[in-house]
Structure formats: structure tokens, C-alpha cells
């Protein structure tokens, strides 16, 4: 099956649950297009009667019919658009939710090397593009075919030549986007690329305004912006020219069709094969019966973009999660040991191994810190404990049980993590902390914030705990964010806690406070920290030194300082502070 067909089948499948609404839309569309033709026929027939002094006996009936067609056209238009949009909005909603759920399933493995913001943005745009197909193309496609066939059959009774003319014109019209579509599609892509280019410049100018001003670049930047606009202008011109050729071809076909009908019908009248009164009807109809086909060719031009979008969405939805949630065990909330047993791991199959035959034990309730140069595999260890990935070889055990035997949900309850890049959502500080445990009360949240030494600064925010944070809200400093993240973690109360660089943004006083508090709050927990700062390293019971994906030594600071060269190198800059 070609890609195109596959796309149509896939998209049609998403509409199936709403086949009732879709049928209503199509029926309405049929009504609309039929009424347009009917109204034109009646109007011109009445004109014909007046001209030919024909029989006016049924003129009242005709006028009533005309009024009915006019109303039907309006109703049909309403119905078609209403139902088609209803389906489109619903399917789009479903797509969005499916995409979110899929991303939730495959994150962070899928999102690791991509900017998640861009992923979100891309899919929002793609889903929107589908609206064109769902709300506009789908019904016009069928209506165009059905109506054109019906008209041809009707015309067969009047005159086969007229019928032939309609077929010829319809086929020619359909051929236009087919013939010129490819080129236009390519051009269209180029336009979108330079559009993206100019958008980046604008977004950067807004986000980087501080740097631009301080570097005296404002006016230079304006020049860049304007020249990006000029480039886009040129692209649009070329694209417009091509699209213009398309609409020229369409116009010529429609116009010549009308002229041909006029000649043909005039000949029929003079040959006595057609009533004079019907002549205006034939001419008038020649200007409207191609309408449905014309509508179709217009939307067909956009199909390339629609299919590209649907391909991207489909590819995502077909993505397989890297881990299989087949474990059955429920969460065990007792203090828990963590054990790495000959763990090897590479992010890409066959790629460079990030961890090589790693084995270590962390006792229940122990605090261990992982140290090493960047790229040594520290964060990978954390990722594997969180079971974002499974090890390629070896296994990880919690309290002696392979973590794959727990259900993912159980694992989530057993491990909580505050990472280096704490993400705050666009909602109140309170809600951001509550994410740690949705059923917690306000006072529990304040208590957790208090323990994380965040209560004081939160109360000083413009709206206190109700202050909206996140990218579009009140920006917290790195240290404040980390304290919110730690409050979340405390609220979760999981037996295993991962702190990935999560105190690195705190100033000395806060760090000191945090160390006292963590020693108390997390004393029953198994804590795995990742840290650079000596002060943090010193607060751990044991230190695991990683180098090139392997633990080179494990021990206390004193032990390692006396025997481990790698460790000494890592901390030497901080020792003389």
C-alpha cells in the first residue's frame, strides 16, 4: 500500500467512532451542494420562462422551491461545517491525548536527545494541520465524486455531449494539483523552512534581549530580523507564482467549460434538440456544477502537508517503549538495599557502553554518593535505578529482588528523585509541591516545604504558596527551585531517594541547613547522590568513584583520599579553598 493510501486509511480509522457525525456532515454537504445547483437551475429556468414567454402555471411552486433551496443551502452549510468541525475537534483532542500518553510511556528514553519543548510544539502544530483534512477534505472528497457522477447521469438524459463535457472538465481539474502539486509541495516546504528560520531569529531576540542590549546589538539585530523577513518575502513570491499558475490552470479549465457549454447548448437549441427555455439553465449550471470538484482541488493542494504531519504522528504512536512493564510485585515501602550486579548498558543498541560490568551494594538506609568526571556514568546509574532503561546485561536488585519483578507503578512508589533540572509547572508553588503526593493536605505541603527550608522564601513570594511559577510564571532562582524539588521528594516518602546534583545551586547557608535536615529526614532512606561539590560528597556514608563506566573504588573520604588517585584528582581543586 502506498504511503498516501495508508495515510488515508489511518486517518479514516480515527474518524470511525464518530461515523454518525461524519455521515451527518456529508449529508449536509450533499444538501448544500445540491441546493446551490438547484437554486441556480430554478433561477435561470424562471429567467428562461420570462424570455421565452413559456408557461407560468407552476411559477409559484418554483418560487417556493427556490426559497427552500436557499434555506437548505444555509442549513446544509451550517450542518456540514458544524458536524465536520465537531468530529475534527474531537479527533484532534484524541490525538493530543494519545500523543501525550505515548510520550509519557516512552519518556525519557525517547526524549533524551531531543528538546522536549520542541517535541511538544511540533506535535501541537502537526495535530492542528490534521484539522484541514478532518474538517474540510474528507467530506468534500466524497461529495465531489458523488455529485459529479449524479450530474453526469442526469445530463445523459438531456444530452450525452453535455455529459461528456462535464467528465472532461472534471478530469482536467483533478489533474491540475496532481500535475503541479509536487513542485508546489517542494516550494511550500522551502517556505516553511525559511519561516522557521525567521521565527528562530525573532524568538531569540525576545529571549536574548538582555544580551543583545548589553552587547550593543539591538540595531544590528533589527537588521537581521528585517533581512530574514526579506528572504521569506522572496520565498513567498516564488511560492505564490507557482500557486498562481495552478489557479490559472483551474480558471482556464472552468472558463472554457462554460464557453463550450454555451456553444454546445446553442447548437442544440438551433437543431431543435433542446427547448429554448432550458438555454439559460444550461449556461447558468455550467458555472456552478464544477463547484464541488473545484473545492476538492483546493483542499487537495494541502494534502502533502497533511500527510507529512500524519506520518510524523503515526511514527510516534508506533514507537515501542524501551522497557516492558511485566512485573507483578507490589511496592515494598520498607528500608531497602540497592544492588548493581554486573550491569552493562549502552543507550543505543550496539553503541558505546556507558556502564561496563558495574557491581556495587548500597545498604538499606545508607547514603552513597557517586562521583566522577562528566560522562563517567553517574546519571546513567540513576536512570537505571529509576528504570528508565533496562540494563543490557546484569541486573539491579532492590532488597534482593530484581527490579523488573516489580510493576512500574510499584517502582515509582519506591523510588523518588530530585534531579539537576527540576521542572516547575505553570501552576502554583503549592500544586508543584503537591505533585509529589496528590492527596496531601495544605499543612503537609507546608511542613514538607519547611523541612526543605523553602517555607520562608515561598511565603515571601508575591502570592505566597499560590504564586504561579514555571516558564511563563514567576521565575524562581536555581536554589529556590531545588528546594521546591526537595520538598516534593520529602512529601513522597519513598524508601529510595535519588538526589542528582540537587543541592548544587544552594548557597552555603542553605546547603548547610539542607545537610542537617536531610540527615534527619532521610536517615531511614537509602540515598543515592550525584555530586561535584566536596561539601556534599563529605556528607555521604560512602563514595563510589566512577571512571569510564566502571567503579574504580568505593569507600569513605579518608580511605579514598589516601588510596585513590582518580578521587584525589576530582577533589583537588576544592581541597585548598
Amino acid at each position: 500500500m502506498s504511503d498516501r493510501k495508508k495515510n488515508i486509511v489511518n486517518l479514516s480509522r480515527t474518524i470511525r467512532p464518530y461515523s454518525g457525525e461524519m455521515s451527518a456532515a456529508m449529508f449536509s454537504a450533499f444538501l448544500k451542494q445540491g441546493s446551490v445547483i438547484g437554486a441556480a437551475a430554478i433561477t435561470s429556468y424562471i429567467a428562461g420562462i420570462a424570455l421565452g414567454k413559456g408557461d407560468t402555471g407552476n411559477i409559484r411552486l418554483l418560487i417556493v422551491l427556490l426559497a427552500a433551496f436557499i434555506l437548505m443551502r444555509a442549513l446544509g452549510h451550517f450542518g456540514e461545517m458544524y458536524f465536520a468541525h465537531d468530529v475534527a475537534f474531537r479527533v484532534i483532542r484524541n490525538f493530543r491525548l494519545d500523543i501525550y500518553n505515548k510520550l509519557a510511556e516512552i519518556a525519557p528514553a525517547y526524549t533524551l536527545r531531543k528538546q522536549t519543548g520542541q517535541i511538544g510544539q511540533a506535535f501541537v502544530a502537526d495535530v492542528e494541520i490534521l484539522e484541514i483534512f478532518l474538517a474540510h477534505t474528507f467530506s468534500s472528497f466524497l461529495i465531489a465524486i458523488i455529485l459529479t457522477v449524479l450530474i453526469m447521469i442526469a445530463l445523459l438524459f438531456v444530452n450525452p455531449i453535455l455529459s461528456l463535457l462535464v467528465i472532461a472538465a472534471a478530469v482536467l481539474l483533478m489533474a491540475v494539483p496532481y500535475k503541479m502539486g509536487k513542485k508546489a509541495e517542494d516550494r511550500g516546504r522551502e517556505v516553511r523552512e525559511s519561516l522557521a528560520e525567521s521565527n528562530v531569529i525573532m524568538v531569540e531576540s525576545i529571549q536574548g534581549i538582555r544580551e543583545l542590549v548589553m552587547l550593543g546589538q539591538s540595531s544590528r539585530r533589527m537588521k537581521d530580523i528585517n533581512s530574514a523577513m526579506d528572504d521569506l518575502y522572496k520565498e513567498q513570491y516564488m511560492y505564490g507564482l507557482l500557486k498562481g499558475k495552478q489557479s490559472m490552470a483551474t480558471q482556464v479549465i472552468c472558463g472554457l467549460f462554460t464557453a463550450a457549454v454555451m456553444v454546445c447548448a446553442a447548437w442544440l437549441v438551433s437543431a431543435g434538440q433542446m427547448d429554448k427555455v432550458m438555454y439559460p439553465v444550461a449556461v447558468m449550471l455550467s458555472t456552478v456544477i464544477l463547484g464541488p470538484v473545484l473545492e476538492l482541488t483546493t483542499v487537495a493542494q494541502e494534502l502533502g502537508v497533511v500527510f507529512a504531519a500524519s506520518n510524523r504522528i503515526r511514527a510516534l504512536l508506533d514507537e515501542e517503549p524501551v522497557i516492558k512493564d511485566e512485573g507483578r510485585l507490589d511496592a515494598d515501602m520498607e528500608p531497602m538495599s540497592v544492588r548493581f550486579e554486573n550491569v552493562s548498558f549502552a543507550y543505543e543498541p550496539g553503541g558505546e557502553e556507558v556502564l561496563r560490568d558495574v557491581s556495587f551494594d548500597i545498604e538499606a538506609g545508607e547514603t552513597v554518593v557517586l562521583v566522577g568526571h562528566s560522562g563517567a556514568g553517574k546519571s546513567t546509574c540513576a536512570n537505571l535505578i529509576l528504570r528508565y532503561w533496562d540494563p543490557d546485561e546484569g541486573r539491579i536488585l532492590f532488597g534482593g529482588t530484581d527490579i523488573r519483578e516489580y510493576s512500574m507503578e510499584a517502582l515509582r512508589h519506591m523510588v523518588s528523585a530530585a534531579s539537576q533540572e527540576t521542572y516547575l509547572f505553570h501552576t502554583s508553588v503549592e500544586e508543584n509541591i503537591r505533585l509529589g503526593r496528590p492527596d496531601s493536605t495544605d499543612s503537609e505541603i507546608e511542613e514538607a516545604a519547611g523541612k526543605a527550608n523553602a517555607d520562608e522564601f515561598i511565603k515571601k513570594l508575591p502570592q505566597g504558596y499560590d504564586t504561579v511559577t514555571g516558564e511563563r510564571g514567576f521565575r524562581l532562582s536555581g536554589g529556590q527551585k531545588q528546594r521546591v524539588a526537595i520538598a516534593r521528594t520529602l512529601l513522597r516518602d519513598a524508601p529510595i531517594v535519588i538526589l542528582d546534583e540537587s543541592v548544587s545551586n544552594l548557597d552555603a547557608e542553605n546547603e548547610l541547613y539542607m545537610q542537617h535536615i536531610l540527615a534527619e529526614q532521610l536517615k531511614d532512606k537509602t540515598v543515592v547522590m550525584i555530586a561535584h561539590r566536596l561539601s556534599t560528597i563529605l556528607s555521604a556514608d560512602r563514595i563510589i568513584v566512577l571512571e569510564d563506566g566502571r567503579p574504580v573504588d568505593i569507600g569513605t573520604h579518608e580511605e579514598l583520599n589516601s588510596r585513590c588517585e582518580t578521587y584525589r584528582n576530582l577533589i583537588k581543586n576544592q581541597m585548598n579553598d
Partner: protein, 577 residues
């Protein structure tokens, strides 16, 4: 309504294009009108003499009109696209230019988020108003006027009915503006909120997963998306009712008038030959009306964004040059004095209270204090992103506000906590501060900034693309690039907001060395978050709750046993945990 008039203001920038497009539209309409008149004559000929020669000459003229129109429509298409680009480009550049005038102080984080969506999507939505709607208004007026006067000779009564129906077609949508405005305005707000929320969720997926909250976020999204669908379908209903009403009106314009003319002709009140003229001309009157209505609908969305646009444009810049602002006078190593400076971001709570201190010529001054004590505000005032409400900051003995802003900022370099990198190569990013810097100078600056080592290790070295869509650098690496920028700029004043972001010990040392390099032979101000970095400063200013608590050298302050001593003690303690 005011908004519409103001939107028209932008038209003065594309006068030529608007005129051209309108002219094209008119010529296209003229070919339609000529064709209609010719077709009416042909119909009359068929009913009358059936003279072949006359018939074919008319037919040839019809074909000519069709061909000319087709060609014009091609031009029209590319014209429309380029014109759209021109007006959007113009509006965007005006808005961004205003943003630069407002400066980083008034373009706070919240604003920049809004501005991004306004400049990208908002302006995009304005296209239809300018490019389709406005020129169409002229077309409707002229086509209506011409048809009216042309038809008057055939039948005054029907002509008057026609023109009245046409006027209704224009007036009714305007009358419904308030209803539509309200609903569509809400729609836009809802829509952008939902999209933002969606992207927020996708961006924070990893965080949600570690908190086991991705399912609850999923159900929130589902609820929001469902209620958005309900609202959008309601809005679609409202806007469709409007459109359907318009359809009825345009149908009346094109059908009922013909029927009236036909009946009058049948009764002998008017000549029969008038009927075909009405038949074909009224169709041409309805066509531009139909389009006008369509364009009006596509304009709604844009019009609702216009308010946000003008709100921004109406914001007066707070930081403006005085008339006789100086363009010189800042010495090579100037003295900077804060004299009784009081400042508040919001107008309610003072962040700095009556702050006075002196940064002597060529000295290295450090500003320290607990988080929230006002350190970063000092930076914002020094680079004049804000002006103090009371007191003055003097450089080389002169109030900062007496210097021209661009001159003042050209004499200063600032290294921020989190540096923004622009999409482009590392080399281009460094060169930004002095466009004429040679490659050798750039490498030398990078070396001094201790950045050359990591740059050399990048895939393409200095030609590696960074920034959005490019390689992501770590916070420490970004800051060293920023320092290299400052070294190239070689300004007499250097202001550095030390990064709190996590940098490993090694980079921290390197950054420290880079800062030492930069502060040589300049007046430098360092906002320090880690006390170890400022021990050798000539003067340390300790802030507490927005006031200067104490100042002096490291030794002097230690001896004082005040706040500084406490801060140092906290740091020492961490190490001894």
C-alpha cells in the same frame, strides 16, 4: 472598534501593495462583469436572431475575458502572498523594535512569553484582515456600484432591491461584531492556554514520571481538552449561524432579484432582454460579497490578538535618553557611586533601601549577602535595566541617567548568571560583542576566558553551531563564552553575576581564573554567591535586607564578626560535617 481603526494604521506601510492588490481585484471583477454582460447578450441572441457571426464574436470575447482573468489571477496569487509577508514582517519588526526600546527591565520573563506567541501566531492571524478583507471591501463597493448603475437602465426597482440586499450583506456582519468578538476572543485565550499547558506537560514529562504524576496530569489534560472542545464547538456554532445568515442574504441577492426581474418582464413592465443581464450580473454581485464574508470570518482570530499587540505598543519605555545626554565622559577605570539609592520592582516593597557605597577607580568590588538581600538588583541598576526611584548612581562623577543609554552600555560588559547563546557558531557568538574582531582575537579571548580547551573539543571547534537547534553547552561553558565576549568588548566597567548553576569543580576553577583575567585593569563588580571567590577583592560590600550591612576587605570583615563572618562560618561548617 478602536482596534480596527488602529490596525488600519499599519496600512500606510503597504499603501502601494494595497493599491496594487485592489486594482488587480478590480480588473478581475471587471472581467467577470464583462463576461456576465456578454453572456446575457448571448442568451438574448439565442432567444432572438440566432445570428451566428454575432454569437461567435461575443463568445470569442467571453473566452478572451476568461483568459485575461486567469492570467490576472495568477499574478494576484503571488501578489497576495508577498503582500501578506510584507505586512506581517512590518508589524513584527515594529513590535520587536518597540521591545528593544522597552528594554530588558520592562520585558520581564512573563512578558517575553506572551510576546513570543503574539509575534509568531498572533501576527500570523492578522494576515487575512489586511490581505484579504481590506482589498475586498473596495472590490465589493466598486462592483456593487457599477452593477447598480448599469442595471438601473434596465429596471430601477430591481436594481434598488439588489443594492439594498448588498448593503445588508455588509451591515449584518458588522452588527454582529460584539457577539463574535466576545466569543472568539475567549476562544483564542482558551486555545493558547490549552496549548501552553500541553507543552508544559510534555516538557516536564520526566519530572512527572519520577513523581508518578504523569497519569494524573494526563487526566487533567483530558478534562481541559474536552471542555475546550465543547467551547470551540459552541463558538463554531455561533460563527456558523452568522455565516449561514450571510449565505441566505447573498442567495437573495443573486436569486430573488432575478425572479423579480423575470416576473416584471413577463408582465411586460420591463423588457425581456433585461432578464439575462440580471441573471448573470447578480451572480457577480454575490461573488465578492460571499468572499468578503469569508475573509471577515478568517479575520476574527487575528483581530482578537490585536488588542494584546496594541497593549504592548502602548507601553511607554521607562528608560529613555535625556535630551542633552552625554556621549562621552566615562573614563578608562571610572569610579562608580551609589548615592542613597532606593528601588522597588513593584512599587510596593523596596528591594534596596537607601543604599550608598563607592566602587573606587579600577577596583574589584564584591557584593555578597544572603539570597534575597538585593544582590542581583544592584546589577540590574548598574547596567540601567531599571532606574532607581530615589537617589542616583554616578559614574565618573555624573548621574548615569545623564549619559546616552547606548553609550553607557557600550562602556560596560555584563556576564549574567545564565547566558543566552544565539543560534550560530561559537565564533559568531563570541564576536557579537565586537563585530570587527578578527578570528585571532576571538581565539585569544577564548583562551583568556579559559574556554578554548572545551571549544577545541567540540565537534566542529569554533564553527560548532550552538543555541536553539544547535549543540547544548553546559552552564559553565556558556558562562565562559560570555566572559570571552566581555574580554573582546574590552569595556572599562565589568559586571559579573556569578553563576549559581552547577558547574563541576574543575570548570569552577577555570571560571575563577577567567574572571581574574577579566577584572584586571577595569572597574569590576562581582556579585558573589560563593564566598571563596571574592577573598582577594579590594572591597566587599555585604547586603542584608536591601541595605548595606558592612563593607571592607576580607580580613577587616572577619575581624568585625558580623554577617560576613557568619556566612563564612556557615561555609566552613559544611566542610566539617
Amino acid at each position: 472598534m478602536n482596534v480596527y481603526i488602529r490596525l488600519l494604521g499599519f496600512l500606510s506601510d503597504i499603501k502601494k501593495e494595497i493599491a496594487g492588490k485592489t486594482l488587480l481585484g478590480l480588473v478581475i471583477s471587471a472581467t467577470y462583469l464583462v463576461q456576465a454582460v456578454l453572456m446575457a447578450q448571448i442568451v438574448n441572441l439565442v432567444f432572438g436572431s440566432q445570428d451566428k457571426a454575432e454569437l461567435f464574436s461575443r463568445l470569442a470575447a467571453v473566452v478572451a475575458a476568461i483568459l485575461i482573468r486567469s492570467w490576472l489571477m495568477m499574478r494576484n496569487e503571488s501578489y497576495t502572498k508577498t503582500m501578506a509577508q510584507k505586512i506581517k514582517g512590518k508589524i513584527r519588526s515594529v513590535v520587536l523594535e518597540h521591545m528593544f526600546r522597552l528594554g530588558p527591565g520592562q520585558m520581564n520573563d512573563k512578558r517575553s512569553g506572551e510576546l513570543t506567541s503574539l509575534v509568531l501566531d498572533g501576527v500570523e492571524a492578522l494576515e487575512h484582515f489586511y490581505v484579504s478583507f481590506i482589498p475586498q471591501v473596495f472590490t465589493v463597493l466598486i462592483v456593487g456600484g457599477f452593477s447598480f448603475f448599469y442595471l438601473l437602465q434596465y429596471d430601477p426597482l430591481t436594481s434598488v432591491i439588489l443594492i439594498l440586499a448588498m448593503v445588508l450583506c455588509v451591515v449584518v456582519p458588522i452588527a454582529t461584531i460584539p457577539i463574535v468578538e466576545k466569543n472568539i476572543g475567549d476562544y483564542w485565550t482558551d486555545y493558547s492556554r490549552l496549548t501552553a499547558q500541553y507543552i508544559d506537560a510534555v516538557q516536564g514529562l520526566t519530572t512527572l514520571k519520577t513523581l508518578d504524576a504523569e497519569k494524573s496530569m494526563g487526566s487533567i489534560l483530558k478534562k481541559e481538552a474536552t471542555s475546550f472542545w465543547r467551547r470551540s464547538i459552541k463558538n463554531t456554532g455561533i460563527s456558523l449561524s452568522n455565516a449561514s445568515l450571510m449565505l441566505i442574504l447573498t442567495s437573495v441577492t443573486s436569486s430573488i432579484t432575478v425572479v423579480i426581474a423575470a416576473l416584471r418582464a413577463y408582465n411586460g413592465t420591463i423588457e425581456a432582454a433585461a432578464v439575462p443581464v440580471f441573471l448573470f450580473l447578480t451572480v457577480e454581485c454575490a461573488r465578492p460579497l460571499f468572499d468578503l464574508n469569508r475573509y471577515w470570518h478568517s479575520s476574527f482570530l487575528g483581530l482578537s490578538t490585536a488588542e494584546g499587540l496594541f497593549e504592548l505598543m502602548d507601553t511607554e519605555p521607562k528608560i529613555v535618553d535625556r535630551e542633552d545626554a552625554a556621549k562621552n565622559g566615562i573614563e578608562e577605570m571610572p569610579e562608580i557611586r551609589f548615592e542613597n539609592v532606593t528601588f522597588s520592582y513593584t512599587g510596593s516593597e523596596d528591594v534596596l533601601k537607601d543604599v550608598s557605597f563607592t566602587i573606587s577607580k579600577g577596583s574589584k568590588t564584591a557584593i555578597v549577602g544572603r539570597s534575597g538581600s538585593g544582590k542581583s538588583t544592584i546589577v540590574n541598576l548598574l547596567i540601567r535595566f531599571y532606574d532607581p526611584q530615589e537617589g542616583a548612581i554616578k559614574i565618573s562623577g555624573k548621574d548615569m541617567r545623564d549619559y546616552e543609554l547606548s553609550y553607557l552600555q557600550s562602556r560596560m560588559s555584563a556576564v549574567f548568571q545564565d547566558t543566552f547563546l544565539f543560534y550560530g557558531t561559537v565564533r559568531e557568538n563570541i564576536r557579537m560583542s565586537r563585530p570587527d574582531a578578527t578570528d585571532e582575537e576571538i581565539v585569544a579571548a577564548a583562551r583568556l576566558a579559559r574556554a578554548d580547551e572545551f571549544i577545541d573539543k567540540l565537534p566542529e571547534g569554533y564553527d560548532t553551531i550552538v543555541g536553539e537547534r544547535g549543540l547544548t553547552l553546559s552552564g559553565g561553558e556558556r558562562q565562559r563564552i560570555s566572559i570571552a565576549r566581555a574580554i573582546i568588548k574590552d569595556s572599562p566597567v565589568m559586571i559579573l553575576d556569578e553563576a549559581t548553576a552547577s558547574v563541576d569543580a574543575e570548570s569552577e576553577k577555570l571560571i575563577q581564573n577567567a574572571i581574574d583575567e577579566l577584572s584586571r585593569k577595569r572597574t569590576s563588580v562581582i556579585v558573589a554567591h560563593r564566598l571563596s571567590t571574592v577573598r582577594d577583592a579590594d572591597n566587599i560590600i555585604v547586603l542584608e535586607n536591601g541595605t548595606v550591612a558592612e563593607q571592607g576587605t576580607h580580613e577587616e570583615l572577619l575581624a568585625k564578626k558580623g554577617i560576613y563572618h557568619e556566612l563564612i562560618k556557615a561555609q566552613e561548617e559544611i566542610k566539617n560535617v
